[in-house]
């Protein structure tokens, strides 16, 4: 299966802005994060098909996932 992934802010640097990513079925957002080698604790907001997602949200072929890093400094 394939998901369209949109990365935001610092996640883009050294990766990509938008890409189609192949995943083994069944897959969750967490599998995708591991596939992209993004440290899990750096992931903040997750959107799946424009709706709020969680790390354990199941993914289907053709889903669009947006990942935003945690931003916490002041």
């Amino acid at each position: 299966m394939q998901a369209t992934v949109k990365l935001y802010l610092a996640f883009r640097v050294g990766r990509f802005t938008t890409a189609d990513v192949d995943l083994l079925d069944p897959a969750t957002v967490d599998h995708l994060i591991q596939r992209l080698a993004i440290p899990g604790d750096s992931v903040g907001l997750i959107m799946v098909n424009g709706r709020q997602g969680e790390r354990d949200t199941p993914l289907s072929d053709g889903d669009t996932v947006a990942l935003f890093p945690v931003v916490g400094g002041g």
Binding site: L9, S42, L45, V71, G72, G73
Partner: protein
């Protein structure tokens, strides 16, 4: 008091009272700067310093801002700009909260810091800065970390809270306190070229979306640091939000996150359900 009104009305030009006349009223009637400002606004006149606010805000709204209390949690990169802009906007009372003193690595971005302020508490510097730029504004300094134990004492009486803290855990504590105290807060967070802004009303779970692990540290800031410009932009966005929340105008970022990417120069809006 009618003497005071007559004094002000006599000196007002186009509905505005010049600073020198505000000082003259303080001297003639034994008033503090805040009391003189209140008297001017009560008379439906405007302190002339706010003339450039006038196309955006009515005198009644300026009075509303003067009657407002904004608590600023954290006086670092964001908090320094927020304090400065709220004071210049004319918010009458500020609560400035931070446990720290200025250190050298603050100097690249923190507006209230200077070589002469190294080792001086951020709270004391905020009080001094506001007294210098708008002495009609009252600042209550709280040199402490905001915790679940002191939040009620520190935040009660505030109209809105600015979240200018520097860790996910502290921000989630603030969100919990604001929920209990039924206070809206305006969240700002920065790291490197990036920042987020959102406005949270009691009952909204926006911060749980931004910090799903709950225990995270400073997020990407620990890797990316913070330059001079990111806190200025994000802090200013927070003040625009605070202004709207205080006056009940415009479209605040409720259930919306504004994500600012200054590296790729893009601004994203994420709508939450």
């Amino acid at each position: 008091m009618s003497d005071l009104r007559a004094f002000l009305a006599e000196r007002a030009i186009d509905g505005r009272v010049a600073w020198t006349d505000q000082v003259a009223a303080m001297d003639a009637f034994g008033l503090s700067c805040a009391e003189a400002e209140r008297a001017i606004l009560d008379a439906a006149l405007l302190p002339a310093r706010y003339q450039r606010n006038q196309a955006m805000l009515t005198t009644g709204q300026q009075r509303q801002l003067f009657d407002s209390v904004v608590a600023v949690a954290g006086l670092g990169g964001l908090g320094g700009y927020i304090i400065e802009e709220l004071a210049r906007l004319g918010v009458g009372s500020l609560v400035a909260i931070d446990p720290d003193v200025f250190v050298e690595h603050n100097l690249n971005r923190q507006l209230l810091s200077a070589p002469s302020s190294l080792g001086i508490s951020k709270v004391d510097q905020a009080v001094a800065r506001v007294a210098g730029i708008n002495p009609a504004v009252t600042v209550r300094g709280v040199r402490a970390t905001l915790t679940e134990y002191n939040a009620r004492d520190v935040l009660t009486g505030a109209t809105v809270v600015a979240d200018a803290l520097d860790s996910a855990a502290a921000r989630l504590d603030l969100a919990a306190a604001c929920r209990v105290l039924d206070l809206p807060f305006v969240h700002g967070a920065i790291g490197g070229w990036y920042g987020n802004v959102t406005t949270v009303w009691p009952g909204d779970s926006t911060l749980d979306r931004l910090y799903p692990d709950g225990t995270g540290g400073r997020g990407i800031e620990s890797d990316l640091g913070n330059p001079s410009f990111t806190p200025a932009i994000v802090g200013s966005l927070q003040v625009a939000e605070i202004c709207k929340v205080l006056l009940g105008i415009g479209e605040p970022l409720r259930q919306r996150i504004l994500s600012v990417d200054l590296f790729h120069m893009e601004v994203h809006q994420i709508r939450l359900e």
